[in-house]
């Protein structure tokens, strides 16, 4: 019996000696950048770079770059160049150049999702410009190896940009009622900058939401609990909000679908998006006397108009490029019968849908100052 038990323990423990991975001999890729190679490299070639952080010296990294047809082919080249075994297990973000994104990303993302070594929470980022160049640039003020990843993480937390990872991109790509979005990144003067939000039609990048509008856009895409907004609108279109900064924003979105015809065939849809926004006023420069309730109400109604006007403009842009990142299609689908939903592609219906936004902004408090 004792022999049997020791044999069992021995076999179980010795199994660990197979497929051993010594951490010192591994190169953990943290970021991959993909671009379309220029015409001199051939039309279907990709320009691929990887960044592998080094433990010693701190903050250093290894950067490898090559031209290849697929990302796995590139990996072979990298393995030949590198003194360590290259593994994907710690991949944090993938960057796609804008021109590649315009051609469609699914065939690139497919291989990343398929690889069991890669986590589905890897961030998907579109670079306004050249992804390889962005990855190769040095940003002396920041810890080089984790800069991109940390920037994306912080921005996603403050809810300025969508939290797009391999999972959510795949999910929205496969769903017939919604399209994916991804954060846009660019190289600024001091370092990296968020350049807004990339909107997709299926897997093709078709439009951009500017970074200053990112928060207004995220009102449309879901509920959130943190965030700041600055509004500055004086007089144009009859909306005079002055200069406002609101903090601790929380927002709730609800979407209602109405069919304007009795057939409910989905060709005459009327969509109302209600946004319930609450926040504290942090800064105000303008004509109103905010200690008076009446003026607060006036300001709220101006803010409502501002939010409605801006967000409706976004939606018209989305309709023009047939991209539905909000997922209005999901709600439309739920209001229809299966046959009617399947009768037409949502992308063809979406531009003809009437969408209204009804904002309900309330100023929770005006801070510690009474008089201004």
């Amino acid at each position: 019996m004792r022999k049997g038990i020791s044999l069992l323990i021995a076999i179980v423990l010795l199994t660990g000696c197979r497929d051993e991975k010594v951490i010192d001999r591994l190169g953990f890729i943290s970021t991959i950048a993909y671009d379309l190679a220029g015409s001199e490299q051939g039309n279907n070639m990709l320009h691929i770079s990887i960044s592998i952080p080094k433990a010693q010296p701190f903050n250093e990294r290894v950067l490898l770059s090559t031209y290849a047809k697929t990302s796995k082919e590139a990996r072979f080249t990298f393995s030949r160049q590198n003194n360590r075994q290259i593994v994907n297990g710690q991949l944090r973000s993938v960057l796609f150049g804008k021109t590649l994104a315009e051609q469609g990303l699914w065939s690139r993302i497919d291989t990343l999702v398929r690889d069991p070594g890669i986590d589905s929470e890897v961030s998907v980022v579109v670079v306004s410009g050249d992804a390889n160049a962005l990855l190769k640039s040095k940003y002396p003020q920041y810890s080089e190896s984790r800069y991109i990843d940390e920037l994306i993480q912080t921005e996603t937390k403050s809810r300025d940009i969508p939290n797009t990872n391999l999972h959510s991109f795949t999910r929205d790509y496969f769903d017939d009622g919604i399209d994916p979005t991804a954060p846009l990144l660019k190289k600024g003067d001091m370092g990296l900058e968020i350049d807004g939000i990339a909107l997709f039609h299926e897997d093709r990048y078709v439009a951009r939401i500017a970074p200053e509008d990112a928060l207004l856009f995220s009102f449309l895409t879901g509920n959130f609990h943190t965030g700041d907004i600055t509004v500055s609108s004086s007089g144009g279109d009859g909306i005079d909000t002055g200069d406002i900064m609101m903090g601790s924003l929380s927002s709730k979105r609800s979407i209602t679908i109405r069919h304007l015809d009795a057939l409910r065939d989905g060709n005459h849809l009327d969509v109302t998006i209600k946004l319930k926004i609450r926040g504290s006023l942090m800064e105000y420069i303008g004509p109103l006397k905010l200690q008076q309730s009446a003026d607060q109400i006036k300001l709220e109604s101006d803010l409502n108009k501002y939010v409605e006007k801006k967000t409706e403009a976004f939606i018209r842009r989305m309709q023009a490029v047939k991209a539905d990142p909000i997922g209005i299609g999901l709600y439309a689908r739920s209001s229809m019968r299966y046959k009617q939903w399947k009768a037409a592609d949502w992308h063809d219906r979406f531009p003809h849908v009437k969408v209204h936004v009804k904002a309900d902004v309330k100023i929770k408090d005006i801070g510690k100052l009474q008089q201004s």
Binding site: L8, D119, R171, Y173, F174, D175, S334
Partner: protein
């Protein structure tokens, strides 16, 4: 055979036999074969399995303490039954081996990618042998421990609440199934429940003074709830098309979890599921053992057990790649599902005939 298995242990045993490697692809099987709102279909299929258990319960009631083998041998000559027992034994060994081998192949997607799969398989087989030689009472106790290893995994569902949207369920019922609806497609989903039929063989070991079938129903109910939880999490977390495209959605689900102190926990949790598959392998080997014991009532100590485990390893060599292993396992599960319905019905007919009032006129 002094100790008897209590309903509590039977419940856990049924739960753990039913839970096997099909768990990893369950959400995809449902999305592919049933389509939107497949969880409703899952409830329906679970009720059908429940009806099957009712049949088995009727057998138990009318058998009045006799074993399944005794009932059959009273009606059918032994020279017919013996080859059937051998066939059954080989079939059960095959089924168990395919389950365990498939687990090994899936496990190798994540870890030990280049190790020979038969080496990993033999580790499981050795553990199965240890369990098998200890008898069913001790197996049921070991299963209890394995059950408590696995049950906390259910709490990970909480992690997916922020990303979970009921709108992804859609309002359509059973639409978008990849190949439309057919008996075969629904059967494919139904096979996730196979395992409860082994209760037929547990009759002589169960505590007759207690309601053992309460245990069977509770075990089956618990498993159905677990499957429903998994399906509900997946249908709100993935889009339907995505779910249909993922080979093993459960592994993807686990890989999504990132805790502050650890990520990629699928490596750890996948290992826990070893126990569920070990139980399935052990119990099917045990079923084969009961059949063989009719042929060899007084075998040499552990000879049959060792023979069965060696046979299982030999069979497991055959499926070398996941595609083959998938196809073989599916075929074996279809056959087992057939047996699960056919055997109790046959037994009930035999019992009706054997228990007919004495002196009554025969038709």
């Amino acid at each position: 055979m002094s100790e008897k298995i209590s309903p509590f242990h039977i419940a856990l045993l049924v739960y753990m036999i039913e839970l096997d490697v099909t768990f990893f692809s369950l959400p995809r099987l449902i999305a592919e074969n049933i389509g939107t709102n497949g969880w409703i279909g899952l409830i329906g299929l679970s009720l059908i399995a429940g009806l099957n258990i009712v049949l088995i319960q009727l057998v138990y009631r009318f058998a009045k303490g006799r074993t399944v083998y005794e009932i059959m041998e009273r009606a059918i000559p032994k020279w017919i039954m013996y080859p059937v027992y051998v066939l059954l034994a080989v079939f059960w060994v095959m089924l168990g081996s395919f389950v365990a081998k498939k687990f090994v192949l899936i496990f190798q997607i994540i870890s030990f990618q280049t190790a020979p799969s038969m080496f990993l398989y033999s580790l499981i087989a050795v553990m199965a042998l240890y369990l098998l030689t200890k008898g069913i009472y001790n197996i049921s106790k070991a299963v209890t421990i394995f059950f408590f290893f696995l049950i906390p995994v259910a709490f990970l569902a909480v992690y997916f609440i922020p990303e979970w949207e009921p709108i992804r369920f859609t309002t359509f019922l059973f639409r978008e199934a990849a190949e439309g609806h057919s008996f075969r497609n629904w059967l494919e989903v139904y096979t996730i429940f196979t395992g409860y039929e082994l209760v037929l063989l547990l009759f002589p070991y169960a505590d007759r003074s207690k309601k053992i079938f309460k245990g069977v129903y509770i075990g089956h109910f618990l498993l159905t709830s677990m499957y429903l939880l998994l399906t509900a999490v997946c249908f709100g977390f993935y889009s339907l098309g995505q779910l249909q495209s993922l080979m093993y959605p459960v592994i993807d689900l686990l890989s999504y979890i990132e805790l502050p102190f650890i990520n990629r926990i699928e490596n750890l949790i996948l290992t826990l599921f070893l126990f569920a598959n070990l139980v399935s392998l052990t119990m099917f080997l045990w079923a084969a053992l009961t059949a063989l014991k009719r042929l060899f009532p007084k075998p040499k100590k552990n000879a049959l057990e060792i023979g069965l485990v060696v046979l299982s390893a030999l069979i497991a060599i055959y499926p070398k790649i996941t595609r083959d292993s998938e196809a073989l396992l599916r075929a074996a599960l279809y056959a087992e599902t057939g047996l699960a319905f056919a055997v109790p019905i046959l037994l009930l007919l035999l019992l009706a005939w054997q228990n007919r009032p004495k002196g009554g006129r025969s038709a």
